[in-house]
Structure formats: C-alpha cells, structure tokens
C-alpha cells in the first residue's frame, strides 16, 4: 500500500526531530514494513510503500497507519470526524434498499446526492491519487477513491437515473445472482453469474458484483445528475471467493476480503457524500439509508498478566500494567475491567485480527518492542546435543564417495515435461502425478526418475563445451498415489513424521557419466568413460558404505537385466542385487547401464551416456557403520596367475563364482583379480581368454608349493568339468 507522508501528518502528530526515513523505520520496526520511501518532487511529499500483512486490514488506509504511528511514537492521533450538510427531500422518496443475501452483507448504507456536475477533479486531488497509483476518473469517482485511501472503506457511486425503479423509487437489492444472469463490469467484460455470486441489483438487473466491481451500465458519467453512493460491509470469505471466481482483484475486494470495519460504514459514507456535494455543486438528500440488522459489537478479551510474562519472557520492569494500558488506548483498545490477575480489554471492530488472549499479548510485545525481550538459552541444558551419527550420515558418505570419483552434485526441479519423462517410463509404472496449475507444460509432471533432469544438464554442459560431464543427484521421485485413501489420517503418524503421505515418494541417488574421464595431463590422454568406469564408481561407493567388501565381495551382484528398463541399452545394463548378511532375500538396489541410443538421440547427445539410479532407502538399510577390523595375516601370501580359455558366453561372474566356491582352494583365497580378457585372432573362434591372479594364504601356517600345486590342479579340473575351461 502506498502512503503519502504529508497526508499522514494530517492525522498524527509527527515529532519534528524525526525525518521521513526515521518515521518509516519506526513503522518497519513496528511490523508494518516500509519497503521503499520515495520522494515526490511535484507534491513536495514522500511516498512510503508499506508491506501490510494479511492480518492487518485496518492498516490499509492513511488513518490506520496514522493510528499505528501514534501508538508506536506515543504521540497524538487526530481521529477524523464527519460533518454533513443535508438539504432537500428524504432519501426514501427516491431509493429503497433490501438485503436478501443476509450472510454475505451485514450492513448496507447509501446516500443520494442530487444536482451534481460531473467533471474533472481539482489538480491537487488528481495529483495525490496519481502519486498513490490510482487513476483519476472524475470528481465523483475520485472522491470515493480518496475516502478509500483515507479510511479504508470502499465506496461505490451509481448513476441514480440509470437504476430500474419500483413505484418511482430506485431499487437496491443485495441478493444472489440467478442462473443465466450476466453483468458487464466497469472493465468492459461481460461476466456470467451463478447463484454463488452475490450482486447488488436494481429492480431488475445486477448492477454490481458485490464488494468487487460495479457495472458498466450504471456508472457515473458526464450525463449523471444524481448519484446513489454505497457503503457496505461484506463478509470477507464471500468476497474473497467471488473475486477469485471472476479472476478479479480490486482495491475494494482486497480490503473487503481482509475485513473492513462494519462500524465505519456510515461515517465514511457521510464524509464522501459531503465532499462530493462540495466538489460537484450537488446537494445531499436528507437522511441515509442504513440497513444493519445485527450490529457487530467490540470483543472483550481477558489477558492474564502472568501469561504475558510466560509467552514473552519480558522482564518485570517492561511489563508495567499502566504503560501497556496507555499504549493500547492509543490503538483504540480500552481497558474495561479486571478479574483476578486478568485485565479485560475491549477491542475495536476495525481490528478483526485481535480475537484471543495471545493476539493481545503479541500486540503488547509489539508495542513494547521485541528488542526489549532478553535472550535466553537456558533450555539447552535440559537436552543433549542431537546425535550427529544420525540417520542421514550415509547420505554424506555416498556424496563424498561420488565426489572423490569426479562427480559433481546437481540439483534439478522435481517436475518436468511429459515428453522428457515418457522416454523413461515403463508400461507398468504408475501414472504421473500432474500439477493442475503448472507454470507451463515443461514443468507439469512430477518426476519418476532423476535421470531426465541429469541428462538435460549433460546437454547444457556439452553445449557449453564440456568434454566430460559427470553428475549425481539425490532427490525424491513421485510414484503415484498412496493406497490408503485421499483424506489425511493423522492416526497413521506413529512415531514417524513422514507417514500419511498422499503420494508414494521415494528418495533416489542417480548419476550420469558422459565423455572424458580420469586424469588429464601433458603426457596422458583422457579416454571416454564406459560402462566399466561407471561400474567402478558404483563399486567404490558400495565399498565406502561398507555394503561391499571390494572385488571379492559375494554380497553384491551385477546381473544382466532380463527385462531392462526402457531407457537403458538392452545389451549394456545390469541390475544391482545385494544379499545382506543374515538374510536370504536379495535386495534390488538399482540399475546401471548405457542410456538407450534412442534416448541418447532424443536428447541430442553425440556420445553414449552411462547412468545409474539407486534407491536411497535401500542404501540406508544396507549401509553399515563401524565394522570390526580383521586381524592382520601372520603368514606370507603367494600369488598364482592362471589364463583360461573359455566359451564366449561364459561370464566373468560365472568364472569368479566357480573359483571362489572351489572346495580345495576356498579357505586360502584372499584376493582374486581379473587382469586380462582377450578375444581375437590368437585364439579359437567362439572362445575367449580370461586371466586371473589369485592371492593365496593360510591363516595358521605358511603354505607349501606342493600344497598349492595340488589345490590349483584340483580347481583347474573342476573348472574344466563345470565351465569347460582349459588352461592356456
């Protein structure tokens, strides 16, 4: 809201020692934040732009801000008063009002001004409106806007002669619209009305959308000679709903939906009518019509003095009762009684935000100043510091591992476009959760994989000239709706805050690897990463999280996926299965592979991209902390290399499993490494050669050459029998 400093000073005594900026600072520290203070040279004025929180409709006017300043600065507030000169016949001769929508309209008042001359407003009034961002229209409309800015009461002027009459009297009826009715509002738009809408109607047609905007047909024009001036109090929720329904937000609806003062209606009406008469040469008819069947009374609120101390932590000296009462009085809050420790305050109806004891305690603290509240940290002695080795430590270990492997952490939006995500969606996966009011189609689907976002990052970086792009992200995916009903069910929250979620949300750790990888230097060339590079990164990660014990691990298995994910190359993809200790059930940790060439092409990438996606929940359950160390070996180790000729379709995994499972050798193997794989002209077609290096050692003695030779021989025979492997 824009506030004129000059105008403000008509309603409050501003200490001469304070500059406009200092006054603005006082408002800011009082909770009415002045965002800008700009100088208007033409008006020799300063304009404040004040951010008013939605709980303070009373501050949406110059009078409201002035009252606030008086309380903050403890100076005088000059309450405005209205005088009115009436002449001519009573209003009842020319107008009648009835309220049918009684819940929506609690008060409706109007006056009639005859003999008006509609023209341009005087220069100073127009300048003031322009400075406060209101477009001047004519002397009648401008005055209604001026009173709105002065007092916060929206007003509307109708051309009396355009209203449909009943027995020579213009009819005003506050009612719900009927099906099929329309109204062309002042902005020229024809609006279809529904019975939910509350309108001001004349004897026949709607003439205004109540509390929001008037109608075009009844607006004040240069032809107007008589004006019917409306001031009313509408139910905030009703106005809010119909403003939303019609996509309209006006100065009037903005105030009505936050709550105006029902008891200000008449004084604002009189003040406006009087000003209109003065500026247009018109006469205000005798009497006002004022339908106000159930007057809204000020609330009386009990405030326990002990409670003020308990909430605020303020010191006794700052809680002086007389001081608080005096400050409250400047805000119009009177002390009307006392019961025991409690004081009884009467809260004026322009403060709809003050309905409870706590609201008045906040008000007291605001006026005393939050800087007066002492600082205390006594509570910390009662609880120990939280456990740092808490549940999320594995997340940090995962991050550190990937970073050490050359990966940068990315953070992407949780929503994207359908076309991006469809490439990643298997037939049986759940339907996308769709944002009903997205910022655009490209931000409308809740993600089911982190990979589309990461691939987009690869594209961006490739375009910027990056030779290698290696990224990972940790974030949630959204896999459809949870099964247990649509409505919240708080009884599901047993000890865990994340239960009772509407959607199935899973945390994922995903990564992509594209292009150049490894050390780059003056004498070594970087090579493009491939599947085994990324697999190695994952293996290192699993070692860091103590899920795997390295290349000897029999807990982790990379299995060629039988039904590969649609976004992965069918030949270059694997599922990662983990067999936890003391468990017979293998857990699927995630997938790794080359992005399908079709997807790669769809993203416009010129080189293969390798990717993985893991379940963070599974990582969390599988990660182990602080394992006991193994004793260092006391006896020497012996290495034996072995080159084997195998059928091409025998996998390294099969060979490894066979060797590690060998009865004779098993107790001695402390390490197994594959150091060469060969296919080519030097060996038979349909065959390949795999060379392994075995490290052997006994825990209790030095192995002899004979012992090893025997065991190796037995193993080779087994390999020959089970895998048709031959020693080369």
């Amino acid at each position: 809201m824009l506030i004129s400093y000059k105008w403000l000073s008509e309603f409050v005594e501003l200490p001469a020692v304070l500059s406009a900026q200092e006054i603005a600072d006082q408002l800011t520290m009082g909770g009415l934040e002045v965002e800008h203070c700009t100088e208007s040279l033409a008006l020799e004025d300063k304009i404040f732009e004040v951010n008013i929180t939605p709980n303070r409709p009373d501050a949406l006017s110059h009078i409201g801000i002035a009252r606030e300043l008086a309380a903050l600065l403890q100076t005088r507030f000059y309450a405005p008063h209205s005088t009115i000169k009436e002449s001519g016949g009573p209003i009842n001769d020319v107008a009648q009002v009835s309220i049918h929508a009684k819940n929506a309209c609690l008060r409706y008042a109007c006056r009639v001004i005859d003999g008006v001359l509609v023209k341009e407003s005087p220069e100073d009034m127009r300048m003031r409106l322009i400075a406060l961002a209101i477009r001047p229209v004519n002397n009648i409309v401008d005055i209604t806007n001026l009173i709105l800015l002065e007092r916060g009461q929206p007003l509307h002027a109708f051309d009396l002669n355009t209203l449909q009459k009943d027995r020579h009297r213009a009819v005003i009826n506050v009612r719900h619209a009927s099906i099929g009715e329309t109204l062309t509002t002042l902005d020229g738009k024809e609006r279809k009305l529904t019975p939910e809408d509350v309108v001001i109607a004349d004897a026949e047609y709607p003439i205004a959308l109540a509390g929001v905007m008037g109608g075009k047909d009844t607006e004040v024009t240069e032809k107007t000679t008589s004006v019917l001036l409306e001031a009313a109090y509408f139910d905030p929720s009703t106005i809010r709903k119909q403003a939303r329904r019609h996509g309209l937000s006006t100065e009037a609806s903005y105030r009505f939906e936050r709550g105006t003062d029902p008891n200000m209606v008449l004084s604002a009406l009189d003040r406006a009518a009087d000003l209109i008469a003065q500026h247009s040469g018109g006469r205000v008819r005798r009497e006002a019509i004022d339908i106000y069947p159930k007057p809204v009374l000020p609330l009386e609120i009990y405030v326990r003095k002990q409670k003020i101390a308990d909430v605020s932590g303020l010191l006794e000296a700052d809680l002086d009762e007389a001081k608080i009462r005096a400050r409250f009085l400047l805000l119009g809050i009177e002390t009307v009684g006392r019961r025991g420790d409690a004081l009884i305050f009467r809260v004026p109806t322009f403060r709809p935000d003050l309905t409870r004891e706590i609201d008045l305690i906040e008000e007291a603290m605001r006026l005393i100043g939050l800087d007066k509240v002492p600082s205390r940290l006594s509570f910390s002695r009662r609880l120990l510091a939280a456990d740092y080795a808490g549940s999320d430590k594995y997340v940090d270990r995962a991050r550190q591992s990937l970073i050490a492997s050359g990966f940068f952490e990315a953070i992407n939006f949780s929503f994207g476009s359908l076309s991006d995500y469809n490439l990643f969606k298997a037939k049986e996966s759940p339907d996308f959760i769709q944002v009903t009011n997205p910022l655009g189609e490209e931000l409308s689907m809740m993600r089911q994989s982190l990979l589309p976002g990461l691939l987009k990052n690869v594209v961006l970086n490739m375009r910027k000239g990056a030779l290698g792009v290696h990224l990972f992200e940790i974030g949630n995916v959204f896999l459809g709706q949870n099964s247990y009903g649509k409505a919240p069910n708080t009884s599901l929250l047993q000890g865990k805050a994340d239960q009772d979620a509407w959607a199935i949300e899973q945390s994922r750790l995903s990564g992509v690897s594209f292009g150049a990888l490894g050390v780059r230097s003056f004498d070594t060339k970087q090579k493009n990463g491939d599947f085994y590079d990324l697999k190695g990164v994952l293996e290192a990660l699993l070692v860091h999280l103590k899920i795997s014990s390295g290349c000897m691990s029999d807990q982790v298995h990379f299995v060629h996926a039988k039904e590969p994910s649609v976004f992965l190359h069918p030949g270059v993809c694997a599922e990662i299965w983990v067999k936890p200790k003391k468990s017979k059930v293998d857990i699927l940790l995630g997938v790794i592979g080359e992005i399908h060439p079709d997807v790669q092409a769809a993203f416009g990438l010129d080189k293969p991209v390798y990717a993985f996606e893991l379940s963070m929940d599974q990582l969390a359950t599988l990660t182990k902390e602080d394992e006991q160390v193994k004793p260092l070996p006391k006896f020497p180790e012996i290495t034996r290399d072995l080159a084997l000729l195998l059928d091409e379709d025998i996998t390294a995994g099969q060979l490894q499993k066979e060797i590690l499972g060998d009865k004779a050798l098993k107790p001695f193997i402390s390490d197994l490494r594959i150091f060469d794989v060969y296919k080519g002209p030097k060996i038979e077609k349909g065959k390949k050669s795999i060379a392994v290096s075995l490290t052997l050692r006994a825990l209790d003695r030095t192995l002899t050459d004979d012992e090893i030779a025997g065991a190796m021989q037995a193993m080779v025979e087994n390999l020959q029998k089970n895998l048709r492997a031959l020693v080369r």
Binding site: A386, F408, A497, F522
Partner: protein
C-alpha cells in the same frame, strides 16, 4: 692354482703382475659399488688371489721370500689404491647424475579429477550442523502434502487471506506441493505426542513464482522446539546463537514484528550485514541489516491441531531459506544458477 708342487719365484712374480693388471682393467670399467667390491674380494679377500699367492711363499728361501713379500705388498697397495679411487670415481658419478636429473617442476601435475557438493548442500549442511549442536534432531516429511498439514492445521483455513502470501501448486483437490516445511511441525507433534520436542527439518518447498530471485522450487530449513514454559526469550537466545554459528561471531540480530498464521507473536529476523557490519553497503541496500529468518511462538491453534494443550505447553519455530543464505554467502545474484547445474558454476564449490 697350479698342478705341480714346485712353483718358481718367477711364476709368483708373474702372478702378482697378472693380478695387478686384472684388477686394473676390471676396476676401470666397474660401474657400481658392487662390482668394485667384487674385485676387492677377488683380489684381496681371505680367499682372494693375493692370499693364495702368499700361501705359496713358505716354500721359498728367506731372501726370495723377502723380495716376493715386498712385491706382494706393493701389489696389494696398488690394488687397494685403485679400489679407493674407483669408489671415489663412482661416488662422483652418482653425485653428477643426481645433479643432472633436474625436471621441469612447472609442468602441471597429474591431478585426480574430483567433483564437489552442490552449494545448496554445503549451505544446508552448515545450517543443520549448527542446529544439531543446539540439540535439534532431523525429521522429514513428504513434498506432496495434504491441504490439512500444509494449511488447515497451521491455522490457515481455506478462504484465509494468508493463502495469498504463497501461491500454491495443486496436484489434486486439497493436495498441494507443500509451500513450506512447516507441515513437518504438525506431523512431528502428532507423531511424537510427548515433550520436549526439538526437531529440525530440511527440504524442498514449492511456490508458483519464477524470476531472478524466485524459483518455483526452493529449500527451507525449519526448527521447532516445544516444552513447558518456553518463551520468546528462548527463541531469541536460540536465534542469536544460530546466526553467530552459521554466519559470524560478530553477527547481531534484530527482530521485527510480523505475521505468520502459525506463530503468534511472529517476527522477521534481520541480521547485521556481514559485509559492512551494519554500516550500510550495496548488499544490505544501505540498511545495515539483511532479512534472514522468519520466527515466532507456536500459535495456540496450531497446538490444538497437533493434539497439545496450549495452556500446558509452549514453543517456538523458525524457518530459513537455504537459497537465500547461499546467495548471500557466495554472492550469487540469480537463483536459477542453482538449478542449471552448469559445471562452470558447480566446480567453484
């Protein structure tokens, strides 16, 4: 050495001469200390040539023995001298080799390529570590949220004007992308049911807003403390400690009354500008202060929604925007940098 028992003195002389020549030629080409040492053992050692020759001396008459002895000693001295010189020569060569082995130390090293954490991760880790040390346990809640947890239970009924403070994304009727992390407060209170509660939560929140300083997705961290007789003074003490630990020991805070539907009283918390220390600069737009947090005492209505009696417990809550802190800390002017994942940006952290 010889087949026949009778060895002539002339033969011994010849042998000594041969020994000298052999040692001389071997030492001349010896390329290592080991080779020199081998010559010494062969010529002068206990089982070496000289010892063998001297063993034969017994059979000669005294005069010849004397002469031959002299010759043998000369030969030994000669070889010993040569060996010493050879060692010296090798030593000198080794020194020279070390001195000549200079490389271009200015060539770049073979640096292992490593990545980095996202600046938002670094920032939230810093904040969460401080909260942990203040005793706040970490809790989590879903990002797609029932209207009930996101608004209703937080004292924002459906037609409340406060809903306009946050433009909301919907995915279904009464189902929203959470606009704040505050629903986790409700969830925590409902799930724990016992005091004291001291928790922090961190996560993504969503608002329908997009420009250089607003992202439709951003991250919030929130703290909640509920116990008996918690006052605004405790909130202040916590925030002062928090700001000192996250930013700097010199940082001061300033609290301005404000409005959040779920706290009463509510305050905006400003921190003294860490660039100018309150004097006023471009970062703080000349005010000396930077808006950093929202905070307040938990509203009685919120306690009621969460199953607590507001007459028996009290508490405070505060929230901070991770992006905002990161932008201030690292001098980032456009929030979109966080989500582009441009390596030229990420690699600076």
């Amino acid at each position: 050495m010889h087949d026949d028992d009778l060895v002539k003195p002339s033969r011994v002389k010849k042998d000594l001469e041969k020994l000298r020549l052999e040692a001389e030629s071997l030492l001349k080409v010896a390329a290592s200390r080991d080779e020199v040492e081998a010559v010494r053992v062969q010529s002068l050692g206990k089982k070496g040539s000289i010892s063998q020759i001297l063993k034969l001396m017994g059979q000669f008459p005294a005069e010849e023995r004397k002469e031959l002895g002299k010759l043998a000693n000369e030969a030994r001295d000669f070889v010993e001298d040569l060996i010493a010189k050879s060692f010296a020569r090798l030593e000198k060569k080794a020194r020279q080799k070390i001195l000549s082995g200079q490389i271009d130390v200015t060539l770049p090293g073979r640096m292992p390529e490593s990545g980095s954490k996202h600046p938002l991760t670094l920032t939230s880790e810093k904040i969460l570590n401080v909260l942990r040390n203040l005793g706040f346990d970490l809790v989590q809640g879903p990002e797609i949220e029932h209207d009930f947890y996101n608004f209703e239970a937080l004292n924002v009924p459906s037609d409340h004007p406060a809903r306009e403070m946050q433009d909301t994304f919907y995915v279904d009727k009464d189902v929203v992308l959470r606009t704040q992390t505050s629903p986790v407060q409700i969830r925590t209170m409902l799930s724990l049911k016992e005091i004291p509660i001291r928790v922090a939560t961190m996560g993504r929140v969503y608002r329908r807003d997009q420009d250089a300083t607003h992202s439709p997705i951003f991250h919030q961290i929130e703290g909640l403390f509920v116990d008996k007789l918690v006052t605004f003074a405790d909130l202040k003490g916590t925030l002062i400690t928090f700001v000192e630990k996250v930013f700097s020991k010199k940082a001061r805070i300033r609290m301005r009354p404000s409005y959040f539907p779920f706290t009463e009283p509510s305050a905006e918390v400003d921190m003294s500008c860490f660039q100018c220390d309150g004097a006023g600069c471009r970062l703080c737009k000349g005010t000396g202060y930077i808006e950093i947090l929202g905070a307040g005492m938990v509203d009685p209505e919120v306690f009621k929604s969460a199953g607590f009696d507001p007459e028996k417990v009290s508490g405070f809550a505060f929230g901070i925007g991770v992006e905002r802190v990161a932008m201030l800390k690292y001098g980032i002017s456009d929030i979109r940098h966080f989500y582009d994942n441009d390596l030229r940006f990420l690699s600076q952290f």
